[in-house]
């Protein structure tokens, strides 16, 4: 955390107790080390991503070594280590979607968004990710834009939706 001069007591309090929203969660889990993944899940929900400061805070709170917390967090696909983009675009690449043309969706989106699968655009506009099966296979191929599941997508329909996204 960068050092700075604090102008009022609010800021001072915020700095003294960083990640305060996490406190009740930590207490509910009795600061037990085996709740690490649960706590990381919650932390990501609160703060959008797992920053180094946040991970350090969790490690200190659970009395776990830093490297163990970082090693565990990076093992799991759903944890993010940089701020999320303004829009998220996720292609389901499960088997049913694959045999129904998920690869074409990915190719079209990669081209239109000018990023490769798994990347976040440097301007923070959008990230393009993949999920291995949402279990909604009858709707294949499936695209999830900002949390909304869209069924039976084609390259054209996917691009149309992406074009509509607010900058």
């Amino acid at each position: 955390m960068p050092t700075a001069t604090f102008h009022n007591s609010d800021q001072l309090a915020a700095a003294a107790q960083p990640f305060e929203a996490l406190q009740p969660i930590l207490l509910r889990h009795h600061r037990s080390p085996d709740s690490l993944i649960e706590i990381l899940n919650q932390a990501q929900q609160f703060y959008g991503y797992l920053s180094v400061e946040l991970l350090r805070h969790v490690a200190r709170s659970l009395a776990l070594p830093d490297s163990q917390v970082f090693g565990t967090a990076t093992f799991y696909h759903l944890f993010r280590f940089q701020p999320p983009a303004r829009h998220s675009c996720v292609v389901c690449t499960g088997t049913a979607c694959e045999v129904n043309g998920a690869a074409q969706l990915v190719a079209a989106l990669e081209g239109a968004l000018r990023i490769s699968l798994g990347a976040r655009r440097s301007d923070g506009f959008v990230s393009l990710g993949a999920v291995r099966c949402l279990g909604t296979c009858s709707a294949a191929p499936v695209l999830v834009i900002d949390g909304v599941v869209m069924k039976h997508q084609s390259a054209a329909s996917a691009l149309a939706t992406v074009r509509e996204l607010a900058p």
Partner: protein, 238 residues
């Protein structure tokens, strides 16, 4: 203490119950190649070099984690096992960037020794040439990820023997990488006690003393067991 009698490659071996097949083989003077295993550290059965065949089972078992049992019939060097071991070593060579000629561990490298042992004169698999980094931020030691085979000896020694847990494995699959602290430069991690045990147990030139140059790394990982035993003796444990 009860004793089991088993056969390894046709040799009868008597071994205390609770021991594993790898220890029994060593006792009988039968060599089974290993890399992740190190006496004094908990076994992980990750390198798969010590896999053996057990009569009556289709499944290959890691000698380092298979308990001896009465009447066990173990085969350690069938043609299939020899071929698989060579492939494992080829996989290790091709997934990293191992250039023996300029390596600090050349001539004192367990990976190199295993390659000779399994008869790997060339790799049948293509080299992957990954982009990997070198961390020279620690004032005494260096970490060259190009030479790391992810045996996790450093992770285990730092956690189990030194109790500092500076190291862990980050990410997963082909992206696995040994990390220090919160994936910080090694030198920036307060938890490190500069003890150098990780360097001592590293089987390759991945962890090394700064200043050592090609062929100058002379750490002997087998020294660890003496240290662990001495400590146990002082604490009065078995």
């Amino acid at each position: 203490m009860s004793v089991c009698t088993l056969t390894i490659d046709g040799h009868a071996v008597a071994m205390a119950a609770g021991a594993n097949v790898l220890q029994a083989a060593r006792e009988a003077g039968i060599r089974i190649p290993t890399l992740c295993d190190l006496e004094g550290l908990s076994p992980v059965a990750a390198c798969r070099l010590c896999l053996v065949e057990i009569a009556g089972s289709d499944k290959l078992q890691p000698a380092c984690m298979t308990a001896v049992a009465e009447g066990l019939e173990v085969h350690t060097a069938t043609p299939r096992l020899r071929d698989y071991r060579r492939t494992v070593v080829e996989m290790l060579f091709t997934e990293g960037n191992h250039v023996c000629a300029v390596c600090v561990a050349n001539g004192h490298c367990e990976l190199q020794d295993r390659a000779v042992e399994v008869g790997m004169d060339h790799s049948r698999l293509p080299y992957r040439h990954p982009q990997r980094s070198v961390d020279l931020s620690h004032h005494c030691f260096g970490l060259d990820h190009n030479r790391c085979i992810l045996c996790t000896r450093c992770v285990r020694v730092c956690d189990e023997v030194e109790g500092a847990h500076v190291w862990d494995v980050g990410w997963r699959g082909e992206h696995c990488r040994i990390i220090a602290g919160l994936d910080q430069p090694w030198g920036a991690v307060d938890a490190c006690t500069d003890c150098g045990k990780c360097v001592m147990v590293c089987p390759t030139g991945a962890l090394f003393h700064k200043g050592d140059t090609a062929e100058e790394k002379h750490d002997d990982s087998s020294r660890l067991v003496d240290l662990v035993r001495a400590r146990q003796a002082r604490q009065g444990s078995p």
